[in-house]
């Protein structure tokens, strides 16, 4: 059977816990009181308004009955013009002088200048970027303490040259590292 000592200890323990908890609660109250009295918590209304507008906007966009913006893509732009999906303007390549269509200019220039995957050494983009930065004494900093520029940390555009992995929208069990 439990002796009076054990009851006493439990009581004491919860007593101290209660004291500590009270102290912490008063800490928070005191800090908030100070912040409020000194006017350090302004702009709450503006922040709430911005939040409200964002939530409202998302709801409207998600609503299928609303004509989505992609419907306007793209018959006529605001100047009354229409454009093909691949730009057709023709101009001269400044490297070789050939006439090239705008929408095909980049791939042409790549070969023309001897750049591109096949042309350059197989190095990751990030390490050459870092090398270039240091060798030029590049002053535009990427503040190393919290940037983590690996070649994977990039949002790319355009079509991939290799079939990329499809990610499902399901939950993952593996740990993801924030970079």
């Amino acid at each position: 059977m439990s002796g009076p000592n054990e009851d006493n200890n439990t009581q004491l323990a919860s007593h101290f816990f209660g004291d500590l908890l009270d102290s912490i609660i008063v800490d928070v109250a005191s800090e908030c009181h100070r912040i409020a009295k000194l006017g350090l918590d302004r702009n709450l209304e503006e922040e709430e308004e911005e939040m409200r507008l964002s939530v409202q906007a998302r709801a409207r966009v998600a609503d299928p009955s609303n004509s989505s913006e992609t419907n306007t893509k793209y018959v006529v732009d605001i100047f009354g013009q229409t454009h093909p999906s691949v730009a057709t303007e023709i101009f001269e390549c400044m490297n070789c002088g050939r006439s090239i269509a705008a929408g095909r200019f980049a791939p042409h220039l790549e070969k023309c200048m001897g750049k591109g995957r096949k042309a350059r050494l197989k190095v990751t983009r990030s390490s050459t970027a870092a090398q270039n930065r240091y060798s030029r004494g590049s002053p535009v900093s990427t503040y190393s303490p919290y940037s983590n520029s690996t070649s994977t940390n990039r949002l790319s555009n355009g079509t991939p040259s290799v079939a990329g992995e499809e990610y499902s929208n399901g939950t993952y069990e593996e740990p993801w590292n924030k970079t």
Binding site: K37, H83, A87, F105, R125, V140, N157, T159, G164
Partner: protein, 523 residues
């Protein structure tokens, strides 16, 4: 609209506090000065050497809140503090022992006094860091480009004719997977300092050719681009010369393949800086560089590393041209409340004090040993144009692959950066005391207005960039060659990747200058 000269207000003292100060000035504060003790990270308490455990004079209790009287140093608990002031006339003001906060016994409320806070902070600083450096960066706003003084914005303009769209709106042809470039160019060309710089012909192309005779100059090409965009010609422009120039400059990025807009952004600013420092023949560091890229985008970040044992803090400063933010995902406490990731959540995460792991102990100058540390970032000097980059990628530790985070991020159109300034962060570290900390910088405003959003849709390895521009009170979507008007709700709901804000004052100036015809938009 008025500028705050300080980010806090000193509240009016209550009658009793005012009386006390009139009669006793700083006597009470001074006598207690030596008793104020600060733990390295945490609270400041009043440690009266006389008693081991502080107890209430009346009931001998030691629990709850205890107050020490400023007049007679006697200690009372919260129940009996009123009794103390009733029995001893004039003993109206006391201090909360645990928290070093002033308490008015007659008002029964916590009160605040800058002079008392000054004493507390002096003790806190003295206690934690002997001989801190007081480097104070001078603010160079570089705002005075060739602009006339702006007047107040007036009248609404209605009945806008099709021909009357603001200058500078023009589509950019996609030259083959170059939407990453087009999206950044649209944002840059509409950044008021850059736009004005090039429109005012600060980099004169003829003179550049004459003096340097170089075939390729990134600045000349940007200048040509700006002229083309503002020429009034509305047919989409092909930035081919610019692409050629840029590939010469950043040969490691020169390839026809998927690219990242943020990487391109950094690369362009780097190119501008390089060229301009060659021109000016200067080699100043980023903090004082006067090239247009740095004048517009350069800010200063402050990093405080604190020893968790003794409280000694070492501070370093790093210039930056943008801020990359991690998403405050639903895994974080703040987002969990509303289920929504917000920009302020990301900025809070960025400026949060972070305990570095015990496997990364640092050498503390004070302790002369390896210690656990806590690191905190803050913004010491804000730029004219603030570029916020959202890191929308995760890296799997197991599979060694990355994926994009599509999570929606709420962002405001009007942004107040005050809570993330070094002055605010440092002040909150000292309990938000009323004190002019060395990093106080009231020269510039911390209020910003958004003017461009770069949004990304699609996957990590393939996707599409568009830019939303806010010009003359209207939002436009710039999707390569296509310029369309969109409702602001579309922008708010978009998946932002890079956000461009400009200081509020500049924003109003810019809108005034850009209006076509004579009428201007109201805001």
């Amino acid at each position: 609209m008025c500028l705050r000269s300080s980010s806090y207000t000193s509240p009016k003292p209550c009658k009793h506090l005012a009386d006390y100060k009139l009669r006793h000035a700083f006597n009470g504060y001074d006598s207690l000065q030596n008793c104020i003790k600060t733990t390295p990270i945490g609270r400041t308490r009043v440690d009266n050497h006389n008693t081991k455990i502080p107890r209430c004079n009346f009931c001998n209790g030691y629990q709850g809140r205890l107050y020490i009287c400023l007049m007679c140093s006697s200690i009372s608990c919260s129940i009996h503090i009123l009794l103390h002031t009733q029995t001893k006339s004039g003993h109206d003001v006391a201090i909360d022992i645990e928290r070093s906060e002033l308490y008015c016994c007659l008002c029964c409320d916590q009160v605040y006094d800058p002079d008392f806070d000054k004493v507390v902070v002096s003790e806190q600083i003295k206690g934690s860091c002997p001989g801190r450096s007081n480097k104070r960066r001078r603010l160079d706003s570089g705002m005075e480009l060739d602009l006339k003084k702006s007047k107040q914005l007036i009248a609404m303009r209605d009945g806008r004719a099709k021909s009357c769209y603001p200058l500078g709106l023009r589509g950019l042809n996609n030259l083959g997977n170059t939407c990453f470039m087009n999206s950044v160019l649209q944002a840059l060309l509409h950044a008021p300092p850059l736009r004005n710089y090039f429109l005012s012909d600060h980099h004169n192309r003829d003179e550049c050719k004459r003096r340097y005779g170089e075939k390729l100059c990134l600045l000349c090409d940007i200048g040509a681009l700006v002229s083309a965009m503002f020429s009034g010609d509305r047919s989409p422009y092909s930035p081919a010369q610019f692409l050629y120039s840029w590939w010469q400059h950043s040969s490691n990025l020169a390839s026809y393949e998927e690219q990242d807009a943020h990487e391109f952004f950094i690369s362009v600013l780097d190119g501008i800086h390089e060229k301009e420092s060659k021109v000016r023949n200067s080699s100043k560091d980023d903090g004082d560089c006067q090239c247009i890229a740095h004048r517009a985008f350069s800010g200063l970040l402050r990093s405080d590393v604190t020893c968790t044992t003794c409280g000694f803090t070492s501070t370093t400063y790093d210039p930056c041209v943008d801020i990359s933010l991690n998403l405050d995902t639903v895994n974080s406490f703040a987002a969990a409340k509303t289920g929504l990731s917000t920009l302020s959540g990301c900025l809070n995460l960025f400026t949060r004090a972070e305990r570095l792991g015990s496997d990364s102990k640092l050498h503390c100058q004070n302790c002369q040993e390896l210690r656990d540390t806590s690191k905190q970032l803050s913004i010491s000097r804000l730029p004219l144009v603030l570029c916020l980059h959202i890191k929308r990628f995760e890296h799997s530790l197991i599979r060694k692959i990355s994926r994009k985070i599509d999570q929606y991020l709420q962002f405001p159109f009007a942004l107040d950066m005050t809570p993330y300034l070094s002055s605010s962060i440092v002040r909150s570290r000292f309990g938000n005391r009323i004190f002019a900390f060395e990093c106080e910088n009231s020269d510039s405003s911390a209020e910003y207005e958004i003017f461009a959003v770069i949004a990304h849709s699609g996957m990590l390895e393939s996707g599409h960039y568009v830019t939303y521009l806010h010009v003359n009170n209207q939002w436009y979507k710039c999707d390569d060659a296509w310029i369309c008007e969109v409702d602001e709700g579309i922008v708010r709901a978009s998946q932002c990747y890079m956000l461009f804000y400009v200081q509020k004052l500049l924003y109003y100036k810019a809108n005034k200058d850009l209006s076509c015809n004579v009428s201007v938009e109201s805001r």
